[in-house]
């Protein structure tokens, strides 16, 4: 006599220690094997696009900070670039170099949080403390420049709000020399750890065709084998003056496109960012950072789509202007929103504990998913 079975629905509700914020996953199980995962989002929908229609162009910058709150400098960078293209203005060289330096420091800080919390989800508590210790030093550098630790309002349309502190360059160089050996420490603790490798290799494999069809970008796409980075393929600001490499998933341990390769690319990107920062600190010219900031921003009627390489992927701003000081429509394409859509494909056939490993490896921030 055949036994009657049915699938069980498990709710990993909005309050959960490992979901990186308020995300609800409805998981359908047959025993312990996953049949489908349905993410429910919107628990942090803060109406950014409605605010953008009611404020003037410079007033929107603090709101862009709060979308991906782990990489605020990059959100402001992307927005300022989009509006500057719309207006057709050119910023001084010093401003470009400082933006690149801040952006790369922010990339390191964001990847440290990603790596630290990923270790915490898998069950390793020590890398979390080490990552946050090093991140505090980067936050000290930011605080020295603009006064804030997390949400800066520093990169304005046409320039910056403050120039660098006189000690900034020296402290930044000291940090780079201090931090290089720490990456090796992190590798010894987590990357080549036997337990970590067993939990993350051959889990959540993302084939390249699926990745392009789903619109995946950033370290997740590079983990599947495609060498695509907007800093090299569609360059913006002064990135074309620096010499750095784009790490791609090669199947060093496990398969190409699994959780371990996505994680390892983030570690390699930290090293590449250190290279960019060193070169930029050598080449930075003198100048005035506030000279090109327009007194009143009233762009011509038109539209622009501009994108930058956020630490999480491709961040795009689509701005439609109707000639008034307020934008007509600002649409943000956040990488985390796109990456969360692929969860169902990645999780099919794995066990419940692997859901957490996969969610940590695609590195989402709920502020950007819900805007």
């Amino acid at each position: 006599m055949a036994l009657k079975t049915e699938h069980m629905t498990l709710n990993m509700g909005p309050q959960h220690p490992s979901t990186h914020g308020v995300l609800r996953l409805e998981v359908e199980l047959e025993g312990e094997i996953i049949q489908s995962v349905k993410p429910h989002i919107g628990y942090l929908h803060r109406c950014f696009e409605k605010h953008a229609e009611a404020m003037t162009y410079p007033q929107i910058i603090p709101y862009t900070d709060r979308m991906d709150y782990l990489a605020s400098m990059y959100n402001e960078f992307g927005y300022a670039l989009a509006v500057e293209k719309l207006l057709g203005i050119q910023v001084p060289e010093r401003v470009e170099y400082i933006r690149v330096i801040m952006g790369e420091f922010q990339r390191i800080a964001s990847h440290l949080v990603a790596v630290g919390t990923y270790g915490l989800d898998i069950g390793a508590f020590t890398p979390f403390l080490f990552c946050f210790r090093d991140r505090e030093m980067i936050l000290n550098l930011f605080e020295m420049t603009c006064g804030a630790r997390l949400l800066y309002n520093y990169i304005w349309v046409g320039g910056l709000s403050h120039d660098l502190h006189p000690d900034f360059v020296r402290n930044a160089k000291e940090f780079v020399t201090y931090f290089r050996p720490k990456v090796k420490e992190l590798n010894d603790l987590l990357t080549y750890n036997r337990i970590f490798i067993d939990r993350t290799t051959n889990i959540g494999i993302l084939p390249l065709e699926t990745a392009i069809n789903f619109g995946i970008s950033g370290p997740n796409l590079r983990g599947s084998g495609l060498k695509w980075d907007i800093r090299k393929d569609d360059p913006y600001s002064v990135y074309n003056r620096f010499d750095f490499d784009i790490p791609v998933g090669t199947g060093l341990i496990g398969t190409v496109g699994d959780c371990w390769s996505r994680y390892f690319i983030r570690i390699r990107e930290i090293e590449e960012s250190l290279k960019i920062i060193e070169q930029a600190l050598e080449q930075i010219p003198e100048g005035d950072v506030t000279s090109a900031i327009p007194k009143r921003i009233k762009p011509p009627v038109g539209h622009i789509y501009s994108r930058v390489e956020n630490p999480k992927g491709e961040l795009g701003y689509f701005i439609i202007s109707n000639g008034t000081p307020n934008p007509f429509r600002v649409k943000v394409k956040g990488p985390s929103f796109v990456h969360l859509g692929v969860m169902n494909e990645l999780c099919k056939g794995h066990m419940i504990a692997d859901v957490i490993a996969i969610l940590g490896s695609i590195d989402i921030v709920l502020g950007e998913v819900d805007r």
């Binding site: 495609l226 795009g316 394409k333 969360l340």
Partner: protein
């Protein structure tokens, strides 16, 4: 790598009336407008054609054009009647590196657009968001329901220009 003029003539040759016009707005990029119910066929051709190969949808945005007539009702609210709602598609090819922008306009009272969610799976959630916040109805979408607002939100579509906030939601006061 083809430019937008060549792509427009290829599309016009194949689809005729479904392809409406090429809007040029220097110094910004040009836009090709397509009729709302044929957009899925056009996109399938753009993805599968060997010379064009637009395998990546970069962005899909719903916009309230607010080009109708604004009427003031007795209770003081402004309501827009007539006019259109538009969807903008940004496409790119990872091999050839060319990019185009497509635009689809549907009437405000009955905004029905064909869905491209089965062509690029990327469009799935973007179309749900356009339905939730602006109010489009996408034909043949696999799972069209609200994504960011609560599932039982009855006060309409928030990103429309004439949207008005409700006073209470489930016992909680909404305005400040």
């Amino acid at each position: 790598m083809k430019n937008i003029q060549e792509i427009f003539s290829d599309l016009k040759e194949k689809f005729g009336d479904a392809v409406l016009e090429l809007i040029t707005t220097p110094p910004f990029e040009s836009i090709i407008t397509i009729s709302p119910l044929q957009i899925a066929d056009v996109c399938l051709f753009l993805r599968d054609n060997v010379e064009l190969n637009f395998d990546s949808l970069v962005c899909l945005s719903g916009v309230d054009d607010a080009n109708g007539k604004t009427i003031k009702k007795e209770n003081g609210d402004n309501v827009i009647e007539g006019g259109t709602l538009s969807v903008y598609y940004h496409l790119e090819s990872t091999n050839f590196r060319h990019k185009i922008i497509l635009k689809v306009s549907a009437p405000r009272e009955d905004p029905i657009v064909a869905s491209v969610a089965l062509i690029w799976r990327h469009a799935d959630w973007h179309e749900r968001e356009a339905y939730d916040l602006v109010g489009f109805k996408f034909l043949n979408h696999p799972d069209l329901r609200r994504i960011l607002m609560p599932y039982d939100w009855e006060a309409g579509h928030p990103l429309r220009k004439d949207y008005k906030n409700p006073e209470f939601y489930m016992g909680m006061k909404v305005p400040y």
